[in-house]
Amino acid sequence: MATPPNMSAADFADGLSAMRSAVGADWVFDQPADLNTYRDFYSVLWGEPEEKVASAAVAPANVEEVQQVVRIANERRIPIYPISTGRNLGYGGSAPVLSGSVVLDLKRMNRVIEVNEDNCSCLVEPGVSFFDMYRHLQESGSKLMMSVPDPGWGSLVGNALDSGGGYTVQGYRGHFEAVCGIEAVMADGELFRTGMGALPGSETWQQYRMGIGPCMDGLFRQSTLGVVTKMGFWMFPRPEAWLSASVSVMRYEDLEELVRIANELEYGNIFNGMPGFSSPVLTQGNPIVMAMVPDAAEMNRMVEESGIPAWSFSPNFYGPEKVIRAQWEYVQSRFAHIPGVRFAEQSFVDLPISAEDMERIHKPRFGIPSLEIFNVGSRGYGDFNPSDGHIWFSAVIPRSGKGIIDANRVMRRECERLGLDLFMFAPAVTCWTRSFVLFAAVPVYKDPARNQHLREAVREIIDICAEHGWGEYRCPPAFMDDVMGAYSFGDHKLRRVNEAIKDALDPNGILSAGRYGVWPKHLREGRGA
C-alpha cells in the first residue's frame, strides 16, 4: 500500500479505517485500479518516479462528512488534497501536488443549493459541473446565464478557485471575480463562511461580498487553506441578443491605437463581451497559432500584398438589440480616423437561442458548456493529432499593443530555440478584467523523454518571462514552485506571507501541500521532495 510521506502503514491504515467509518467503505479507495483514476491524465510527469500520485481517495457526500474526514486527517497528520470534479486536466486534474496525499474527492457533493432569479445568483456545492448547472437552469426555466470555461466539464467551484475564465460578460467571465460568498472547512474541521455568510440569519450572502474586515475570499484562491464546500456566484440576466463585430486595421503601427481605444471602450462599459485581438495576416498559415510579428516594413508589405488586415479587434455585445447596435455604431466612430480601417458585423444572435443557431454558435459565448474544443489535439487540426493532452503556458502581459508584440516575439523566438511545440498561441486573451494573458498550448505525450525536454523548456520560458515582468496566472503542478519563485519582490515576501498564513491556519500542514508553491513547515525545505 502506498502511504503518505513519513507515515507508517499501520497509522495510515488506521486513518483510512476512520475515514471509512465517516463516509462509508464504498467511498474510500486505496486499490491500484481505483487510484489509477486519480492520476492527472495530462501530467508532464506521466509514468515517471516523480509523477504526483495519491495514496488513497475519499469521497464524502456532504459537509459533515468533509468535516469528519478533515478532523481525522488533522489528528493523524495525513496530507489531504481536495478536488471538486477533478477535471482540471493539465493543471493537476484529480491528482495531488504532494505524492502520497489522500485525495478528498468532492464530486458527490453535487447539489445546486439555490438559484435566485431575482438576485441573479446561485449557491452551489463543489461537485456541480457546468453541465449540471446548465441542465438545472434549462429544466427550471431560468432567465439567468452562467459563464463557462471551454471545455465545460469541470466544476463551477473548482474552476473559480483556480481562476478559470469564460467568454461572456465583464465581471462574470473571470470566474473568481463573480464569486460572492464561500463556505469552507478549515484544517481544524471547523466551518467558516466569508462575507455576509458570517452573519447568522443574513439574507445577503450572495449580495455583498466583503462582510466586515479583510476580504477573506482570496484565502481560498489557488490556496492550501481550506476545503471549499459551498460557493456563491453572481449570474448574468440572459440578454435579448448578442452581437459580434470586428475592427480591422491595415498597418503594423496601428496596433497601439487599436488596443488603446478598445481598452477605453471596455473600461467605459461601451461593450461588455469578451473582446478578441488578433492578427489576420499573421494567422494565415495556422489560424490558431499566430506567427512571429515581423518588423513594420515587412508586416506592411505582407498586408499590402495579401490585402489581409494587419490587426483585428473583435468587440462583443450582450444586451437589447437596440442598445447593442447603438453601442457598435459608437465603437465604429471611435476608430474611424484610422486610415484604411474596416468594420464588419460578424454575427448576430437572438436569445433564447434557436435550434438553428445552436448549430453555428460557439456555445461557451452563451454560457452553454461544450467539449467541442477537443476537436483540437484529438483529431482535429494541426500536426499534433492525436496528442495525449496538453498543458497551457499563460503569463500576464501588459495590456497594450507593445505588450502583444513583445510577448509574441519573445515567446515565438524562445519556443523555437528550445524546440517547444505550440498548437495554439495567442498573446492577448481577455477573460480576466483589464488584463492580457498570453496563452500557449503545448501538446503532451505519454513519453518521458519528450516530457523531460518539455519541462526543462517550460522552466526556461518561465524564467525568461519573469525577466520581462510577465508572470503566469495559473500553472501545472510540476511548475508551481518555479512560478511562485518568479513572484520574488521583497525577497519572496509573497511566498513568505503565504507560508505564515499557512502555518497559522493549518499548523499540521495537512491541506493541499505544495499547491502553488506553498508548503507546510515540515516540508518547506525540500519543497515536498
Partner: protein, 132 residues
Amino acid sequence: MSIRLTLGTLAASTLLLGVAAAREPVRDIERADLPGQQVFARQCAPCHGTGPGDDGSPMLPGTAALAAKYEGALPAALELRSDLSAPVLTLFVRRGSGAMPMFRKAELTDAQIEELAAYLAATAALNTPATD
C-alpha cells in the same frame, strides 16, 4: 480556454470544417428507453454524441476521433456500436484513451457502466437495418 479566442468567426469556421469535412454527422437515431440513456447523455454525449459540433465542425470530438481511427470499419458514434460490453467500456472508462481521461467511481459508478453497456447494445440493435 478555446482556440476561438484568437479567431474571427470566419477563421473558426474554416478551421473546424477541416476536421472531417468528408464525413456527415449522424443526426437521427432511435434511442433505447433505458436508464443508461441519461448516463450516456450526461457523461458521454458531449464528446461521443451524434450530430454536428458548433462553428461548422461536422462531428463532436470523440466521434470524429473514432471516425478517423476506424475509417468506416466500425461506426464512429458509440450509440451505433454493438460491441461495447461492460468490461470493454470499463477498460476505456477507467484507464482513459488518447485525450480522454479516466472516469472515477465518484463520477461514474460500476453500476452506471453496466447501464451504459445495456443502453448502447439496445440502441445499436434498434438502429441496425434489417437484413432479411
